[in-house]
Amino acid sequence: MLQNKSFVKRTRGGKITKVVREHYLRHDIYCGAPVCKVCDTSGARLSPTASTILIFDTNVVLHQIDLIENPAIEDVVVLSIVLEEVKNRNLSVYNRVRALCSNSLRKFFVFSNEHHKDTYVTDMSGESKNDRNDRAIRVAAQWYQTHLAGSAKVLLITNDKENKRKAIEEGISAETVESYVRSLSKPELLDLLVQPASEDVKMEDAEDLRPSKRKVIYSEHKPMSEITSGLHRGIYHQGKLRVNRYNPFEAYVGSESIGDEIIIYGRTNMNRAFDGDIVAVELLPQDQWHEEKSLALADEEDEEEDVHLVPGSADDAPRTIAAQGSAGITEPVQNRPSGRVVGIIKRNWHSYCGSLEPMAKPAGGGGIAHALFVSKDRRIPKIRIQTRQLENLMDKRIIVAVDSWDRLSRYPSGHYVRTIGVIGDKDTETEVVLIENDINTRPFSSQVLACLPPLPWFVSSEDLANPIRQDLRQLRVFSVDPPGCKDIDDALHCTALPNGNYEVGVHIADVTNFVHSGTPLDDEASQRGTSVYLVERRIDMLPKPLTEDICSLRADVERLAFSVIWEMTAEAEIISARYTKSVIKSCAALSYIEAQARMDDSRLMDPLTTDLRNMNSLAKIMRARRIERGALTLASAEVKFEIDTETHDPLDMGMYQIREANQMVEEFMLAANVSVAEKILKHFPLCSLLRRHPSPTREMLEPLLRTAAAIGLNLDVSSSKALADSLDSAVGDDPYFNKLIRILATRCMTQAVYFCSGDLSPPEYLHYGLAASLYTHFTSPIRRYADVITHRLLAASLGIYKLPTIFQDGPRLTSIADNLNYRHRNAQMASRASVELHTVIFFKKRPTDTEARIVRIRSNGFFVFVPKYGIEGPVYLTPRGEKGSGEWYVDEQQQKIRKMDGSISYSVLQTVFIHMEIVEPQPNRPKLQLSLV
């Protein structure tokens, strides 16, 4: 049967056109109930014993998706019209519904009502689209009711009063979500219900129980039409709101229209916008541009400062020092435009991990309590929720979703989604870390696993006969990695040539021999982007057989590799470089310690040790040359744990020791990456994936310069070379001084990022930290997807494989690079969070006294860095909350804090002794506290 659907549509050019589309109605669309006598039941999804079949309307699906995902909701018929509307309104909900429908464990069936001959409804004149679709839903519900007459009850779930009334008139059973959930007599399900915004005003406030005090807190959001015209006239500016991770009362909106970031101070100006929302911003009058800051800090509560890991880069560190709460400092922020949010164009609401704010007595009656949810992500404001299981949730990590935020509420309201586990429990907290950083820990799907070669896998005679593959099995290849490393990406060899030169090879696991472009395996790896290393767990980018076996360049087995082979003089000058796919057989998988021990043991003269020593001396020259060029040798404070094999609790922690052997391997990896970057860029100037590290601006280095000035150290930051030199000459009386300065410098730099060479101009390709004009990642394809891309580029530049078509799609490449940066960043944050978590567990049973360095002065104390454990945190001289009570005063110039009577003073970089201990100021909220001994 054929229907022509015609509708009018506004084209992109603004013209109105009439569109006529064919619409076929079919006889072969089945009901999905296995008990049905009429239909083909091969694709049936509903359970054979279903007594009630549910049909949801669009709004119920859109708003109650958390409830629908709960396993208590089963035997659902999802109408195609509902799916279509949901897809248009909220893609992420659509994807969640689709996931339910395709999940074989759930009983969700998609009924294509729009193409069924009996359930298609034609438009009636004067009927709105919504009314038409509601009618279509009722018609489908009625069809089901007649079709399944007797064998199951059909229940339409709608919160729309009018729709429900009409349904009942037409003889369809219909109920609201709430009454349906109540009828299930599972009270915990009620927590999952989204509270309608209209009821918000009537609801008692969790943070304020006096109804009379309810007042308008936020200004109204402008209607969309006004925003659009405001954007057109240039009064408003559109952009994505980014909340400062370390000061949630400060946010930034990158605006293309004014070519700068607009700063938004305070929650009032943020006007209910969340991090990641697309907002419309109005600039404040220029005379308010810097007064706002002190105001913002004065009228908002001071957020807590926890002990955390030492930042590895500026991305981990607070954006400005002044924002850290030294309210007394008048920071000269010149001409940074500031503004306020006037409307939200697109919400970025999702669900958040956290816990309930401890409170004395449950508020509210009748079993329903109101509580405030505090997200682990500090950028998210507290969220009000209603719960019937308050006692039970108090000590849990839970997930909460946001529903609405009206002008009268200080906080948004949301609803409980699920419980992760008990706060402080290692597994719970690890899961929180993974969820927060959007890390996919699901097992690999069967489609992905189907792409793996059959096991056990061996190098085959075809591999050896393949003309593109060189047989390098006779070479003395070895690998050097951290102890216990199972995913060995790289191996090395170094052969002395008769002419006095050396042949040096870097052999990288040939991952692209197994991971082919466009396969499910490749898509999955591309999505994951990187393996994630937690203290006691690794989340792999590629399935385990590839990661630990087939690709891993283990000792004494033949493996496929992609090799970079140089001829070098004894002065480490590269004479020639060649690239080839190869077969290697590693003779030893050494740990850094073993390699170091071999080199240091002068009695050992075996060939392998000689190779190591030769390589090491080449590496030293290369390193010296790199530093001469201006590469920064920055210091990071990496911590390692010794983990109890039985309890998995940390037994000991200490700084990760960097040995010469580490530096040797690093040097050759850098050289290989640079060589490959040059090679691929030459062949593919527009679609190479490179890695750049932007030069830090003077503003970013400001904290370093201020500290340096306070101790009378003069740093030249005009170029990376100048900075490197001044860092070298910054030697104080104490041996740790230089390292401390380097750590301070490191945290001023942003991180390096991936990009597509076509998106930037060559001068922007610079890698500042390595002082390299070109850089890429080639050497770790087992654990980084960027390297997989680079391998494909290199193979194509050698003409041995064709470049996959995706490389012709510029925007797609850019989005791949963006995803890699996002995944990379999240993986790092997860690693840090995991270390922090284990630090807390470690100190739980071990209160410790240790040495610390002051790194920053605050109005009520100072921030210390604890070198032994790589952490930093606040030490309070006056109790929290009474900042600047008068007993202490801060000398901003000299970065000192003095007691008023002059008896004691502390200055920056000074050594202090501190006591570290886990305290629980509130039940179930353990935190590490630092105090002066």
């Binding site: 054929l2 022509n4 084209t11 013209k15 056109t17 009439k18 569109v19 006529v20 589309r21 064919e22 619409h23 076929y24 109605l25 079919r26 195609s80 689709r98 429908c101 395709s102 998609v110 294509s112 729009e114 193409h115 078509t805």
Partner: protein, 241 residues
């Protein structure tokens, strides 16, 4: 964009291997020697054939066979407000050539030396698959004109979207940017007379898509034969034999 839902339905409700509704009608232009209208879904094409007749331009006359000419146009109203190009643009010239070559391959031109055959095709309504519809209309019109042919030529397109081979793309699917194979075959002789493809496809997938298009062409051939048979019956009836 989702062109095939997980339930296996395309945007207009067809399944991947299904063609749109087709309809053919013979003898719609009385003045012409042969004419036909052919519809594939909302794509509607009219074809008129003149000839064999005297060659207008003597210099083009061929002593061993007939001259076949083809003119393809799109009615100005055929696309609604969609982009429209003036007559004689490159696309029209190209399609004219494609149709001419395809039809020429099946016309027994050696039987009609020193004559010319004109095929006019005009798209009345465009909704994807216009080339195929034009060829099918031209086949009907040539048969109507009684021009001797080796076999029918029928055409159908197939494409590849969302990793699924799709038969007979409509405009929305056609503009999705996936591969699009237009195929013309002589069903009895089992020969391909036209094969065009936009975009690239791996060989194994291409074979599947091509196989699907062949099935489509055969289905069109069956239908065209029915139309011709019906038409012949009508003629017989009118003659009263």
């Amino acid at each position: 964009m989702e062109y095939v839902s997980p339930e296996g339905l395309r945007l207009d409700g067809r399944r991947p291997m299904e063609m749109r509704q087709i309809r053919g009608e013979i003898g719609v232009v009385d003045k012409a020697d042969g004419s036909a209208v052919f519809e594939m879904g909302n794509t509607k094409v009219i074809a008129a054939v003149y000839g064999p007749r005297e060659v207008q331009n003597r210099s083009q006359q061929m002593n061993d066979r007939a001259l076949v000419r083809c003119e393809y146009t799109m009615a100005n109203f055929s696309t609604g407000d969609r982009m429209r190009k003036p007559k004689g643009d490159r696309r029209s010239t190209e399609i004219s050539l494609v149709i001419r070559q395809t039809m020429e391959a099946c016309i027994m031109t050696h039987l009609m030396p020193r004559t010319q055959i004109d095929i006019f095709v005009q798209v009345l309504q465009a909704d994807g698959g216009t080339r195929s519809a034009c060829i099918n209309a031209a086949t009907l019109a040539l048969s109507d004109a009684g021009i001797p042919m080796r076999d029918l030529v029928t055409s159908c397109s197939a494409g590849y979207l969302n990793s699924t081979p799709l038969l007979d793309l409509n405009y929305v699917e056609d503009s999705a940017g996936g591969a699009d194979v237009t195929l013309g075959i002589m069903p009895k002789l089992d020969k391909v007379t036209l094969l065009q493809m936009d975009a690239k496809l791996p060989l194994d997938i291409f074979e599947n898509v091509m196989q699907l298009a062949i099935e489509g062409c055969k289905a069109v051939a069956t239908y065209i034969r029915e139309v011709l048979l019906e038409n012949t019956k009508q003629l017989e009836y009118r003659r009263g034999t």
